[in-house]
Structure formats: C-alpha cells, structure tokens
C-alpha cells in the first residue's frame, strides 16, 4: 500500500562502518532521488536516476554510491561512515524528471 518505502527506518552505527539504505516505490514512476536532510532541516539533493540512468550527481563524497537495479528501486550505500553523515536520508520518486516528488518516510542515520 505504501507508495515510497525505505528500510531501515533507523540506523545507528559506529564510525568507519559501511551501511546501505534501500528504497522502493510502487507508483510506476521513472525517476527516483536521494536527499539528505540535516539537523537544520535543509534538504540537499544527492542523486537522481531516471529509467535507471544517473541524471543528477551532486557534490557528495565518493563514499556515497547509489545503485538502481530497476526503475522501482534505488539503494544508497555508504562506506567508511563519518560523524557528519548523521542525518535523515529521504528517498523520493516522480513520474519523470521535474515532476511532483513523492517522498518516503526517511531513514534516520546516527553515526557514533
């Protein structure tokens, strides 16, 4: 029933670890996004895929690597986690690039 879902909802981990966040949408959309929202609520676009092709690749550390196995899924892998990576990560999807974006519930990442 959920349109855009993310797992896990919460992630607490130690510095230096590697972790993945998964996103799935059942809206039939072609475009998916990853955003980072910091403690001041600022939304920063990280990546976007359209039909499994990377179309937005903002300046983020190369420790962050997105992967889109198909149009309905967009995963985010983070290597060597740092304290500054602590944030809420949102996945979103839209019918096409520039369309109305539908957000998932977020993954709250805390790096200790």
């Amino acid at each position: 029933d959920t349109a855009v879902s993310q797992t896990p909802k919460y992630l607490v981990t130690q510095m230096g670890n590697d972790k993945s966040i998964k996103c799935e949408q059942n809206l039939g959309h072609d475009t998916m996004y990853w955003y980072k929202q910091d403690s001041k609520k600022f939304l920063k676009i990280m990546f976007s895929y359209n039909n499994k092709e990377l179309i937005i690749n903002e300046t983020v550390p190369n420790r962050f690597s997105p992967k889109s196995p198909d149009k309905a899924h967009l995963n985010l892998h983070i290597n060597s986690l740092e304290l500054g990576d602590s944030a809420v990560y949102f996945c979103a999807s839209s019918r096409g690039p520039g369309g109305t974006q539908y957000f998932g519930p977020g993954t709250r990442l805390l790096v200790l």
């Binding site: 001041k40 979103a92 977020g106």
Partner: protein, 112 residues
C-alpha cells in the same frame, strides 16, 4: 542564480491568523514553483504549486501569490490552525528542467 531564498526561518502565528512565508529567486528560466509541507518525522509532501503565467493560485486556506517582475512568490495560510504546524519548503524547477532548487525551509508553529 540557482538559489531560492526563503524567509523567515521560523514563524509563530496565533490560531486563526494569517501565516505568510516568502521566497525569492534570480533565475528567470524557472517555470514551476511548488510548496512542500513536512510534518515532524515524515517526508515532505506537495502542498500547492504555481506556474508563472498566473499571479495567484488558491486551494482551500492555502494561496500562492506570484510576482514575476519581482521574482518573488509567497505562501499564505488563512485561518491558520494548530494542525498546520510544520516545516514549509518553497522550490523552483531549475532551468535544466529536472532538478528542483529548494529553499531552506520555514518552521511554522500555530499557537492555540
């Protein structure tokens, strides 16, 4: 030129009052201006949007006013209710036509 400047950062309004949030942009190529609403612990969701061919759009208690010559647009919430307490983001569709440029957000608190 790709920025969207949003003010105020936070706003407290009495129940029944009018809440006004303002945004300004520089890039005249922007042609779609949405507002997103985010409740605590949730992802942002589209509230209302406008294109520059109209000066105002109203949906229920929510109105966008658009001033093309001044490159400004604002969200007005009439008869503000405690349930409207949320963070509001303005955005503009970039001239690449697939990247939303986000404002920094306004935390709105409606006091009963």
């Amino acid at each position: 030129q790709q920025q969207v400047k949003q003010s105020p950062q936070s706003l407290i309004v009495q129940k029944g009052g009018i809440s006004i949030i303002n945004c300004a942009y520089e890039n005249t190529a922007f042609d779609y201006f949405p507002w997103y609403q985010q409740f605590p612990g949730k992802g942002p969701a589209l509230l209302i949007a406008i294109r520059p061919d109209v000066s105002e759009k109203k949906e229920g208690r929510f109105t966008i006013s658009f001033n093309k010559s001044a490159k400004q647009f604002s969200l007005h919430i009439m008869d503000s209710q405690p349930g409207d307490s949320a963070t509001y983001f303005c955005a503009a569709l970039g001239d690449s036509n697939y990247q939303l440029i986000w404002g920094a957000g306004t935390k709105l608190i409606i006091k009963p």
